[in-house]
């Protein structure tokens, strides 16, 4: 016959207290999930435009912090790797900020410009595919504007004419991309237009080198080959790698990482305090019983085990509804923000928060158990 589970029975005996405890743990779990969810979503909005880049490998300067804070490097670097086995196409990408004048208010504002060779399929947006788009892009003083640019940039209708860095510019088309954290709006123009607006930028210095691979080729292997070939003034990243690189920059250089990590820490402490309160009250109420157990011949470590078991039970019982609630709230957030805040659950986070919850409850258990261990059997006579 199995041991009498004092921990389980004690928890189950006080139903109200159990429900309060579970609610407390769930609350902390939901808070932690929401903080991590918002953090993940914000970071992914900062980097999700990379998904629209039609390339598997990205060459950037080691001095590039994130896409909009890039250092240009010689175009020869992408020609050096053009012959590597598995490479289908190499494409230069130029980028810079330009002052865009709102034609209605006359106020100028920095807009982020991508310069591409119109014949290169750099982007995956459907609006930029086809010969017609290529033809429009090749027109002088013409650019495509991002529909997700902030409204401060003014009307986005095709044919609108305004000024960019004191030079006439016409909107030749639109697309949906988003500028991440760095840019309020983006433009795409041909490389010929790019050097015209951003004189004296030479075309021999590029900001990002895009490499499109043949189907079925492993990006990691090709990247390794390229790293061996290239000098130290350029780094090779896979798509996941460059997203990671930019995310790390935003996490470390902005307060996003700090704010939400702080949120996680505060939620953790709130949860720990709730569990501590519950366990402490439980121990205090059962002190004569624990002392009696010691008089009977149970060791302190057995009491230790009971309290720790209670803590683990609370962690698991609180985690499950917490996870369910978080999934619901994630869905709600994503729907309410129409997908602009893509809060999504991932396996790593599910495990991480479970671990955090167990840690939180065990820690409270360890703090509160001191009371049970000090139960003196000589005092109850």
């Amino acid at each position: 016959m199995a041991r009498v589970s004092v921990a389980w029975s004690n928890l189950m005996h006080e139903r109200t207290r159990l429900i309060v405890a579970i609610a407390g743990v769930s609350f902390a779990v939901v808070l932690i999930f929401m903080n991590l969810g918002f953090m993940g979503a914000l970071i992914s909005t900062a980097t999700n435009f990379y998904e629209q880049f039609n390339a598997e490998l990205f060459l950037i300067s080691p001095e590039t912090l994130e896409i909009s804070t890039s250092t240009a490097f010689p175009r020869e670097r992408i020609y050096q790797v053009a012959g590597v086995d598995g490479v289908e196409r190499i494409m230069p990408l130029y980028s810079e900020y330009l002052l865009w004048r709102n034609p209605e208010t006359g106020v100028s504002r920095g807009i982020f410009v991508y310069g591409i060779n119109p014949n290169d399929p750099v982007f995956l947006m459907p609006e930029l595919q086809g010969t017609e788009a290529r033809r429009i892009l090749s027109r002088p003083d013409t650019a495509f504007i991002d529909r997700l640019s902030r409204p401060e940039f003014g009307p986005q209708e095709i044919g609108t004419t305004t000024e960019a860095d004191r030079r006439r510019i016409t909107i030749g088309g639109t697309y949906f991309l988003g500028g991440g954290f760095a840019a309020d709006g983006t433009l795409i123009m041909s490389d010929q237009n790019f050097i015209r607006y951003l004189e004296p930028r030479p075309l021999s210095l590029i900001n990002v080198g895009l490499v499109k691979l043949k189907l079925g080729v492993s990006p990691e292997k090709v990247a390794a080959t390229m790293r061996a070939l290239l000098p130290a003034d350029v780094n090779v990243y896979t798509k996941a790698g460059i997203i990671e690189h930019d995310s790390a920059y935003w996490l470390e250089s902005t307060s996003i990482g700090f704010i939400f990590s702080m949120g996680v820490v505060v939620s953790f402490i709130v949860g720990a305090v709730i569990v501590y309160q519950i366990l402490f009250t439980d121990i205090r109420d059962h002190l004569p019983e624990y002392a009696t157990m010691k008089a009977m011949g149970y060791r302190s470590q057995y009491l230790f085990k009971i309290v720790l078991q209670e803590a683990i039970f609370l962690a698991v019982l609180g985690y499950i509804p917490g996870l369910a609630a978080a999934l619901g709230l994630y869905h709600l957030t994503a729907t309410a923000t129409a997908g602009t805040l893509p809060v999504a659950m991932n396996g790593g986070r599910v495990i991480f928060v479970l671990g955090l919850t167990l840690l939180m409850c065990s820690l409270s258990g360890l703090i509160s158990v001191r009371k049970a261990v000090t139960a003196d059997p000589a005092e109850i006579f």
Binding site: M1, V4, V6, A291, M293, G297
Partner: protein
């Protein structure tokens, strides 16, 4: 640790004694704040005796009971319980001694969340007999007249029933020494009498020694000896009249009585 003991302690240890106390002093607190509560106690409790410990409040009788129960560390004198010297023992060793002792407290101290049987089984689990624990527990509860209450939680039991569950918990492992602190204080006359009668039968049948602190005059008649403690000293060690008939312990008790009257 044993070498600090006088040689006579080891020589005079006897198999027919459940508890043997020699020149025991006990202090509460340390250093300048220490206060002596027991003074040079010497006492022998033979196996199978029921001994009642009385005395005014603060006389040290509960302290003596907790010392005999291995619930406190002690430094001075000699205290042998069931053949084991307690003086100088560490916490771990004391816990092992406790497992051979049955404790009955004034409050029942049952886990409200566990059934009567589970509360008793907690004691059986200490012996590692997991297979038979339920059976042992039910047998013991039945012996105390609780056969129809084994799966009740303490909340649904009367005060007397709860105390009997606590007694079942103390007795289920058949300890050779039972220490009881006012076991009848919370009980009505009949329940109290039942409990005492059961302890009496147990001591006669299984030869276990019972040391009981009580102020309850209604149960003094079951005692083989009555020890009176005043201000931490043994005041008297008398034989109740009815004990004269129990010839087996007679000689021994007379010797003890002469020795310990102060």
């Amino acid at each position: 640790m044993f070498k600090t003991q006088p040689q006579s302690t080891l020589d005079s240890s006897r198999d027919d004694l459940a508890v043997q106390i020699q020149h025991l002093n006990y202090f509460f607190g340390v250093g300048d704040l220490s206060k002596q509560v027991l003074f040079d106690i010497s006492l022998e409790l033979p196996k199978g005796q029921i001994v009642i410990l009385t005395g005014p409040s603060g006389s040290g009788k509960t302290t003596l009971l907790t010392l005999a129960g291995a619930l406190r560390r002690l430094q001075d004198g000699s205290l042998r319980v069931l053949g084991k010297e307690l003086v100088g023992l560490g916490d771990r060793a004391l816990v092992n001694v406790r497992r051979n002792i049955g404790f009955i407290f004034q409050a029942h101290n049952l886990f409200e969340s566990l059934t009567a049987s589970q509360n008793v089984e907690m004691a059986v689990e200490l012996t590692g007999k997991f297979a038979s624990k339920r059976e042992q527990s039910v047998t013991m509860l039945s012996a105390l007249g609780l056969a129809d209450r084994v799966d009740y939680k303490p909340k649904s039991l009367s005060g007397g029933q709860k105390q009997r569950v606590a007694i079942a918990r103390a007795l289920v492992n058949h300890p050779k020494l039972i220490l009881a602190d006012e076991p009848t204080a919370a009980l009505d006359k009949k329940s109290g009498r039942d409990v005492v009668t059961y302890l009496h039968n147990l001591s006669r049948q299984e030869g276990c020694t019972v040391l009981m602190v009580t102020h309850d005059n209604r149960i003094l008649d079951v005692a083989d000896r009555i020890i009176n403690l005043v201000d931490g000293r043994l005041e008297s060690d008398s034989t109740p009249n009815d004990f004269v008939q129990h010839k087996t312990q007679e000689a021994l008790t007379e010797v003890s009585a002469d020795m310990f009257i102060m």
